[in-house]
């Protein structure tokens, strides 16, 4: 298992980790790479890698659906981040074939920070097929 260390710089942001995942799988021909976030206020998502306004639209829409303040009982002030984490999910797999990551043309892999800035980790595990 390999670990990616990620430093986030805002409370909420999507950080492109596509290149780092490609580096992790570089010696694998066929298989699946499993990415896993061992945190409860951050997640993973795969979405558009071209127009950066897609990222800001996603962050903004999620904040309007699940606002930071909303009569939550949890006292740490980050219940919204916990809800968003359950909605996005912290585990994503990607197919490796022909020695490459089988992403779509417009896809990037994003670390979704919902309660930063923090030091974060992503676990990467590969099963060859």
């Amino acid at each position: 298992m390999e670990i990616l260390n990620i430093s986030t710089s805002k409370r909420e942001e999507l950080i492109d980790i596509t290149g780092r995942v490609k580096a992790v799988i570089k010696d694998v021909s066929e298989g699946i790479v499993f990415l896993y976030v061992p945190h409860t206020t951050a997640a993973l998502t795969c979405n558009e890698n071209a127009d950066p306004s897609v990222k800001s639209d996603i962050i903004k829409k999620m904040s309007s659906l699940v606002p930071e303040k909303d009569n939550y009982k949890h006292m740490e002030g980050n219940s919204d981040a916990h809800v968003k984490t359950s909605l996005f999910g912290g585990g994503e797999f990607f197919i490796i074939s022909g020695g490459g990551l089988m992403l779509g043309e417009w896809q990037g892999i994003y670390f979704a920070e919902f309660d930063g800035p923090r030091k974060r980790k992503v676990y990467c595990s590969i099963i060859k097929s």
Copy 2:
């Protein structure tokens, strides 16, 4: 890796691909099948295969939560589809055991189109156990 080609006919719809996934795994006894959507405005979901009103309720509720028009910055008019894709997720796995797909009695596997009609693909990869 096998590819399913899917033609969608509406802007938003859930298309049952259960039979096509069963065809992909037909010679496998034990393992996991990984389904992956290489698009940023379409996803996968597993839900009820009996009453079709469940599908229309899901589509309608998602459209009320994430409306097509909502002061988005992205100019292509499909930011709602990007958000829904991150919420549903484009990767789903299913367990193969005893030579069959281990779905629940009421479960169907659906391709979730959020910005159609389009020509779409689903990648299918199997790891035997």
Copy 3:
């Protein structure tokens, strides 16, 4: 494939199954465990295992986003549970390394009941690496 049997006691609740998943993987050194819910009104999620108010905040927020009554067409009165199931997802994987489950310090694995009380199942399948 192993099956966990779960009895839920409320309409909506998050039930910690972390210990049961650890028991399933106890003889495995390296690999991935795949958990799968064969139901259409229940899901899985991974979130905080410390303050129980995080669980109640998640349940409450999901009920305000997707209310039980909301002009749904499906006559069984549980369309909200179907939508929540698609949002959370019924399949989650976890990495096994060094003979243990690679969870974060604050993570627990939860069965998410959205239309209980019911008798439920979680399928568990392991692929060693």
